[in-house]
Symmetry: C2
Subunit: 263 residues, 2 copies
């Protein structure tokens, strides 16, 4: 059973298309977790305990785990989320060449899906795509101000680069395991990409701390009810101190319900 079929079941089961980004910035962890061997894992465990019934998926960003203790924290986090039946998307934005990208693709032994960067072309993400049971979200349109520098470049054939990436990804989608990352901070572009690729589910970041358009995210993010809207900081750092997990639950529930208004 492919990733998007499993994700569809999970979304139906939990009545939620919310994806929560597990980005345990060590500068922002509550101080009562300092004494733990792995504070990031201690933080994530509490977030998972508090929110797992409200979320369709978790999305740890690899940037927050790039050291030895970080990878231990990430491994524990993934296993724990799986123990609660929540799929995990590794937000890694990887891509490399040949034997190197095959090495990166081994991360799909651990997680259910991954994000990849299209700049190196199809063969750089092919080892990810070959895992037909895993999901591969190709970066299309990101939410940062500088995204326009490259993604909005006008191509000779009249489209913009991010639109071409969308159509290329659609072409590469021979195993029905590709989705796109398309930010909610640009609702018109969400609609434009949806028109181009009616069959690709989106992972939509930017509705939380970045203030993106929730209605557009839900309306254009889904295909047959499958799609994810991500929030990271606005959920996991919704509160401070010893009750941070309760605050995270409230924030997750509010956002889940808000998303459901438009589903």
């Amino acid at each position: 059973m492919g990733f998007f079929d499993r994700l569809g079941d999970r979304i139906e089961q939990t009545d939620s298309m919310l994806c929560v980004g597990l980005d345990p910035d060590t500068d922002r962890l509550p101080s009562h977790l300092d004494g733990f061997d792995l504070p990031r894992w201690a933080f994530n465990r509490r977030i998972i305990d508090a929110t797992h019934d409200l979320v369709a998926a978790y999305k740890p960003n690899a940037a927050f785990y790039e050291d030895a203790d970080g990878w231990r924290s990430l491994e524990e986090t993934i296993a724990y989320a799986h123990g609660k039946d929540v799929p995990v998307i590794l937000d890694a934005k990887r891509a490399d060449i040949g034997n190197t990208t095959r090495q990166y693709a081994r991360q799909l032994d651990r997680v259910d899906a991954i994000t990849v960067n299209p700049y190196l072309g199809r063969d750089a993400i092919e080892p990810f795509l070959q895992r037909s049971d895993a999901g591969v979200f190709v970066l299309c349109r990101t939410t940062n101000p500088g995204a326009s520098d490259v993604q909005e470049l006008a191509l000779a054939e009249g489209d913009q680069l991010y639109e071409r990436v969308a159509t290329l990804a659609d072409l590469w989608n021979q195993r029905n395991n590709i989705g796109l990352v398309v930010g909610a901070t640009t609702p018109d572009e969400l609609e434009a990409v949806r028109d181009l690729v009616p069959e690709l589910p989106f992972l939509v970041p930017g509705v939380g701390a970045q203030g993106g358009d929730v209605e557009a995210a839900v309306t254009y993010g889904c295909v047959d009810g499958v799609g994810l809207i991500n929030a990271s900081r606005s959920v996991i750092f919704a509160g401070e101190g010893e009750t941070f997990d309760k605050a995270a639950r409230s924030a997750a529930k509010r956002l889940r319900d808000r998303l459901n208004e438009y589903r």
Copy 2:
């Protein structure tokens, strides 16, 4: 003193523009290293012992270290290379947005330079660029067959995407700490990029196992004697068994000398 100044001194000192990729594929490590706590680190230490006087820099690719033991191996490797006065470039091809890419940029506390992916635009790599003493190699033209899928797209203004990335990187180079990754497998394109950006040093992969053009790599890779030609597998896996390090030394020496014919 900026990275490229330090690198220039190092190249002069060692009479070498060779960069060796430390990519310890666990499927290819000599079996006598199996018993070590960290076989990848044991492998790298022997490679460094055997080659450090012949190389301008080492370039570990992050893909080969993405687990808890991997990061420990990488940390030991970086410290050991630094102990031999060899600069280290982390081949990570990273880029993300806002707080996440700031997190990735912390890797520059450990290493001397890093490779980044341009698809997300300038602000995604700005936290790397702000480390004015560190080097930032922007992916421009990669050596894989599928590189043409995206990098060669024709833009409305007449140039190709990889050419635009080169000129953008040149524009972003306000601290003299940007270089470009341009593959040796496409000598004409090496020349074209050199013409576009006469002042950016190149990191040129592809002359080893991938069979790229050595003369073009050296001729177009350097600016005022500063530039790096990388080989990974053709050096570190030049031999097998217990004398793999001697074989690596011979391969490194041969390639260093071959590069010097064109300098």
